[in-house]
């Protein structure tokens, strides 16, 4: 048995990645998710409209970000639809409080705070405002149903699993069967190979997404209020990033086990930090920046915005732009890694080693330029 233990430790020592995974990962996970895992909402972005907009003073957790004395209920609704505020207060004759139900935890916190304020203010509250008690309306998800906000996000999670996990095996498998070498000498451009690898998964991912959304609508009654086109565009970008990540993971992994490990390390934070479960605003700022590096964060914003609030593309420019940027970075990196496998860049040369000595002193400079290819 002792021999077995020693052998196992030796193997473990060689496999640095697994070792790191076993020791470092739990610590990081604990810290990150310890800070992230919070349903408590401390600030609620609020918009105030109507004649007394400038005069309204709201106590915490309400944080008035936008005031518009000229605006009315329409403006207030637009603020919620475009995700600029979670609560909108309309003053004047038809006083109202609008709450964005697509932000489940924020909406609940707002309701609790309103109830609390009314209880504290007692009967004097209404005369002080000079109006009848404002009517509270929850928009977009009036029942505050969990399914309504989870399914648009879950669609993203499923795509992350399909895209990153499954695609990450693609290139590694080629390397393990020895066919990557074969691809390298074939008359294919690295781009052809990259796209050829991605397109099938892309198609499967798109079908997958359609099924998940259709099932969400049919089975769970999740509304789809916005534009299918905007949603499809967002999904397209998101899939692109996700599959690119898969290929990137694949190209830096030696075997399928490593690829799965890495894919897992990228997938798990997306589930927990993207705002899918915990509201982004509740995540400590020291950890929240990670959220902004994750594609699922942006896809969540797009899918919830479009499906629940019928948000048009204009106010969604931020998630779209960031997704596109992420996609650009990921795909560029993946293609570069790919190229180094497929185009014969030559063996790595020792820095300042004998290789450069040879290259520096060629007997025939015309011949030292490396391989020449006849056409």
């Amino acid at each position: 048995m002792w021999a077995m233990i020693v052998k196992e430790f030796r193997q473990l020592r060689r496999d640095r990645r697994t070792l790191a995974m076993m020791i470092v990962m739990p610590v990081i996970l604990l810290i990150v998710f310890g800070y992230a895992a919070s349903f408590d909402v401390s600030t609620i972005p609020t918009a105030v409209a109507g004649p007394q907009a400038s005069a309204v003073v709201l106590r915490a957790p309400f944080d008035v970000l936008h005031r518009n004395p000229a605006g009315g209920a329409t403006w207030a609704r637009a603020q919620l639809r475009d995700g600029k505020a979670a609560v909108a207060v309309v003053t004047g004759s038809s006083a109202a409080v609008l709450i964005d139900g697509s932000q489940l935890f924020t909406a609940r916190a707002a309701l609790a705070a309103l109830a609390n304020a009314q209880r504290q203010a007692g009967p004097q509250a209404a005369p002080a405002a000079g109006a009848p008690s404002p009517k509270v309306t929850i928009l977009y998800n009036p029942g505050l149903k969990t399914a309504d906000i989870m399914i648009p996000g879950l669609a993203g999670v499923i795509l992350v699993f399909v895209g990153t996990m499954i695609t990450s095996l693609g290139v590694v498998r080629e390397r393990q069967t020895g066919t990557l070498e074969q691809l390298a000498v074939m008359p294919l451009r690295p781009r052809d190979v990259f796209l050829g690898k991605v397109v099938p998964y892309f198609a499967v991912g798109a079908v997958d997404l359609a099924i998940v959304i259709a099932a969400g609508v049919a089975i769970f009654g999740v509304p789809f209020r916005g534009s299918l086109g905007v949603f499809a565009l967002g999904a397209l970008l998101f899939l692109f990033v996700t599959l690119g990540l898969g290929i990137l993971i694949s190209s830096v992994s030696e075997n399928q086990g490593q690829a799965i490990q890495l894919a897992f390390m990228i997938t798990l934070p997306q589930v927990l930090l993207s705002g899918l479960i915990f509201p982004l605003s509740s995540i400590a700022i020291g950890v929240r920046w990670i959220s902004y590096l994750l594609p699922l964060t942006y896809f969540n914003q797009i899918s919830r915005g479009v499906m629940l609030r019928a948000e048009p593309i204009g106010p969604l420019w931020e998630p779209f732009v960031f997704l596109a940027l992420l996609g650009l970075v990921v795909v560029t990196l993946a293609t570069l890694r790919f190229r180094s496998y497929l185009a014969p860049a030559g063996p790595r040369q020792g820095r300042g080693g004998p290789a450069s000595a040879i290259a520096a002193a060629p007997a025939e400079p015309a011949h030292a330029a490396g391989p020449r290819e006849a056409r």
Binding site: T177, G178, T179, E181, Q182, A184, V185, M186, P187, L188, P344, A345, G346, P347, R348, Q349, G350, G353, P354, A355, I358, A359, P362, A363, E364, A366, H367, A368, G370, P371, R372, E373, A374, R375
Partner: protein, 324 residues
């Protein structure tokens, strides 16, 4: 071979590189160099980090011929073949090869997808290389390789020999100008080896320049040209006959292992011992009654295996100071 001259680059002086080699008189120019029609390497070196895998290796493969690269493990065979096929760039020197679509390559391992059927593997190759009339070509090559019955089987389920045959026909399906095969016959049963060789010979007869690596010297003896590598350097090069003829000294066969100094020059072959004796320093032929250091035994006509072994031995003795 449609047009052997197509796209062959000339040397810096405008003449074909074969004639412009710095080693003009070396046997490497040979038949291939005579017409300037060859694929190969010119003084190619490859470094893996600080390890020199190939040291100024010059190698020429002529269309219509089979050229063999032999050598032990780590000799640099695979590195040389990867350079030729375009999977690896040289650190120094010139490689002359046709465009990628006119190269066929069988990497070590079979280079086929285990989770595709035989037919699907070939269909992929045919599509990538834009083979004309792929159905007819595929059927023809499957027949040649005796794989027709295995058409719909997964490549991963084939026996070792069948999988190698699939790899070889996949590499030659598009009738490449340069066919590079890394150990096509290693780990293959004798019958399959014969079949593989007939496939390879046929590809050469069709005009391809075939380069194959092998660890079997009896196989290499069938090649038109042989390059023996040792630790990344050329050990011997030329036709098998030239290599045998250039062997210094004599080889004798002994029933048991010789003793003393001769033991360093002896190796086992089949059930007996072969021992090499250097040329008689007195100038006489090494034949005669007895060599200077070996007594008894029967003088044999050396073959390629003996010649390559002797070449390695001479180099080893020179390095350890045992050179006569």
């Amino acid at each position: 071979m449609t047009d052997p001259q197509h796209g062959v680059p000339a040397g810096p002086d405008g003449r074909p590189l074969a004639a412009a080699g710095p080693d003009g008189g070396a046997p490497t120019s040979g038949a291939a160099g005579d017409t300037g029609d060859w694929w190969g390497t010119d003084e190619v070196s490859v470094w893996y980090g600080k390890v020199l895998a190939l040291d100024r290796v010059t190698f020429r493969a002529a269309p219509g011929q089979v050229s063999a690269v032999v050598g032990g493990d780590g000799a640099g065979r695979t590195t040389l073949l990867r350079c030729l096929a375009g999977a690896l760039a040289a650190s120094d020197g010139t490689i002359r090869r046709p465009a990628a679509r006119r190269i066929g390559y069988l990497p070590a391992g079979s280079g086929t997808y285990p989770d595709l059927t035989v037919a699907e593997n070939l269909a992929f190759r045919a599509a990538v290389y834009r083979v004309r009339d792929p159905a007819r070509r595929t059927t023809e090559y499957l027949e040649r390789a005796g794989l027709s019955a295995a058409r719909e089987r997964l490549a991963g389920r084939l026996s070792g020999g069948m999988r190698q045959k699939l790899g070889v026909i996949a590499a030659m399906l598009h009738q490449p100008a340069l066919l590079v095969l890394d150990e096509p016959t290693t780990g293959v049963d004798p019958v399959s080896r014969v079949e593989l060789w007939s496939l390879i010979a046929r590809a050469a007869a069709d005009g391809a320049a075939v380069v194959l690596a092998t660890s079997y010297l009896d196989e290499a003896a069938r090649a038109a040209r042989v390059l023996a590598l040792d630790a990344g350097r050329e050990l011997a090069t030329g036709t098998p006959e030239e290599i045998v003829a250039s062997m210094p000294g004599t080889v004798r066969v002994l029933a048991k292992r010789p003793e003393g100094d001769a033991a360093r020059r002896a190796w086992r072959r089949n059930a007996r011992w072969q021992v090499w004796a250097p040329d008689d320093p007195a100038g006489g032929p090494a034949g005669g009654v007895a060599g200077p250091a070996v007594a008894g035994g029967e003088l044999v006509r050396p073959d390629l295996q003996d010649a390559v072994t002797v070449a390695a031995l001479v180099r080893e003795l020179a390095m350890t100071g045992g050179q006569p």
